[in-house]
């Protein structure tokens, strides 16, 4: 009985922080300055100071959390590639003694060390509940950009921090960022390939399939609630369409290969390559696995579909020319156009969420690298160089980052880079080899 009451009460608290409370300052959604130049946001990183949050009570629990929460906020923002987080050793002011609101901040102390943005935080912990007030300041303008107050269970600290990071990114770029997205990938840690899912920053990797057989090619539905993949559970490469939370879904088990699924944007439908007719062709299926229509018709391989954000065009790989090259099919007209002419091996297209670029894998001089081109095939640029084989790029939901696999450290692992090829780093460390990452849309449930 007592437990039930607690739960209900917590539910109310959670609901409270989910809304969040805007602190005085700029109105939400009002983007005043071009802090981040979207034409090349990574060319110049904005110097940002994130001092340790102020303990407002203070007690021992607060001291510990102030440290971890402020570090998490700094790491989360740094992950985007937009910011240069300044070393705390250079700080001239300690908000613990001075204060966290504008009247108590000497902005000169921050501008003189080069900080253009400052995040202050104040926390109170009592009875396992956390109350946090977080603010982003423009130090040169000496003004609050965004401020929020959150309340929740202490276990939800990560959620609270990410939520404020989303506010920061929204106020600086006008976009919702990536902090509620996840990444699905293949990992061999359990003995055979299974699908794993982790948070956008590599946190909390979890095995989501238990096929005990080869399991490949995860694909997120537009709402992030469904995952399609190929598994050899029944001996044949069949297509599984599974709801991630409920135990329901369908299996497409036609003769031959049932592979490379790709969900349509904003529709409960997907494309997949199937070879039951005698050679691999791409088909459009309902989310329940029923064939709607055939999308390709050529002798040889047609595989790896990727949809334009409006769902009107489909990029895919075909070897109709003799070698694997990337093509685009326009659904209305049925027109098919070849995009890649450079090199004899161009595969795994990934259409950017902004719609203007396609990332893909190209073979040159014996190694595979990630490249980027316009949707008209213009100006391919190579994003990875001299670092093993780099394959299978997939876009972050805001189009700012790419996740891909690389053998640069020997075994294949998952890496992240900006859409400009900068800030390349490993996402996570797990036993076995990791391949074929797919970035989810931003998930509402987070």
């Amino acid at each position: 009985m007592g437990k039930r009451v607690t739960t209900v009460w917590l539910g109310v608290v959670l609901f409270f922080y989910l809304i969040g409370v805007a602190l005085t300052g700029m109105a939400l959604g009002q983007v005043a300055y071009d802090y981040i130049d979207i034409t090349n946001p990574f060319l110049r990183k904005i110097p940002m100071a994130v001092p340790v949050f102020k303990r407002l009570t203070p007690n021992a629990a607060e001291s510990e959390l102030a440290q971890t929460a402020s570090n998490l906020l700094a790491d989360t923002l740094e992950f985007t590639g937009y910011f240069k987080i300044l070393d705390r050793g250079a700080f001239l002011e300690d908000p613990q003694t001075t204060g966290i609101i504008a009247p108590h901040i000497q902005f000169k102390n921050w501008t003189v060390i080069g900080a253009e943005l400052l995040v202050t935080g104040g926390i109170v912990i009592s009875d396992g509940l956390l109350e946090a007030e977080l603010r982003l300041y423009d130090t040169f303008q000496q003004k609050l950009v965004v401020g929020k107050r959150y309340k929740g269970h202490i276990d939800d600290t990560r959620k609270i921090i990410r939520r404020f990071c989303t506010e920061i990114i929204y106020n600086l770029t006008g976009e919702r960022g990536i902090f509620t997205s996840k990444i699905a990938f293949e990992s061999t840690g359990s003995g055979n390939k299974e699908i794993f899912i982790c948070d956008f920053d590599g946190y909390d990797p979890t095995q989501v399939t238990h096929s005990k057989a080869l399991t490949l090619s995860p694909a997120w539905s537009a709402d992030g609630e469904w995952l399609a993949y190929t598994a050899y559970t029944r001996g044949n490469p069949d297509l599984y369409i599974k709801h991630l939370k409920d135990n329901r879904g369908n299996v497409v088990s036609k003769k031959g290969t049932n592979i490379s699924p790709a969900w349509l944007p904003n529709q409960f439908a997907l494309a997949a390559s199937m070879s039951f007719s005698g050679d691999p062709e791409i088909y459009l299926l309902t989310g329940h696995g029923k064939i709607i229509k055939k999308l390709t018709n050529s002798v040889g391989i047609d595989v790896s579909p990727s949809w334009s954000p409006d769902g009107k065009h489909m990029a895919f790989v075909s070897n109709r020319s003799g070698k694997p090259q990337i093509y685009i099919k326009t659904l209305d007209s049925g027109e098919i156009r070849r995009l890649t002419y450079e090199g004899r091996y161009n595969t795994s297209p990934s259409w950017s969420p902004k719609g203007d670029k396609i990332a893909y894998t190209a073979l040159d001089n014996g190694t595979f690298n990630v490249r980027l081109m316009g949707v008209d095939g213009s100006g391919p640029i190579q994003l990875t160089h001299d670092s093993g084989n780099n394959e299978s790029p997939s876009w972050s939901p805001d189009g700012s980052l790419l996740v891909f696999s690389s053998t640069r450290e020997g075994t294949s692992r998952i890496y992240i880079m900006t859409a400009f090829g900068t800030d390349q780093r490993r996402l996570l460390s797990l036993p076995g080899a990791q391949t074929n990452p797919k970035w989810s849309p931003n998930l509402i449930s987070n």
């Binding site: 090619s217 490469p237 894998t361």
Partner: protein, 186 residues
Amino acid sequence: MRKRMLMILVLFVVVPGLLMTVSCGKKQVMSSSTPSYDADAAARRAEAERQKRLAEERRLQEEQLKEVNRIKAAKDQFLNEDVFFEFDSAVLTLEAQDALKRKADWLKANADARTVIEGHCDERGTNEYNLALGDRRSESAKKFLVNLGIAETRLTTISYGEEKPVDDGHTEEAWAKNRRAHFILK
């Protein structure tokens, strides 16, 4: 002194005893030579025939063994000899065609055998594309066998792409071994 007494005892007791045994033995040999000449010849003929029969049995056994070994070797070759492909290709080379002709011969000699043709790729390139390429490889092997007169119903295909290499190496030699159609029996 005592030793000498012992020696004398040995000479008087043991040596005559030995002589007795020898003479008895001789007597036995003498007695065996008593049967008639005819009976002797018949026994020899019977023995010779027995030997001949044994030799024939041995020869038959050896031939059977040879046949069993031949069948086993043919089956082993069918299962172990892979059909190899060039990089990013499902086209059957002349060597691949020769290997497939041997597969067809075996399948004709073993009319009740049903086989699964696995298509495999080397590790280079995209997994999804390689799954499709493995499908093409197993299908070209199958079509070739069907053209040689093997019933389509006896042949199934499956692609493993680059997921099941026989050689985990990252050299051209390892890749060449992994680009294959592999046959297993159902």
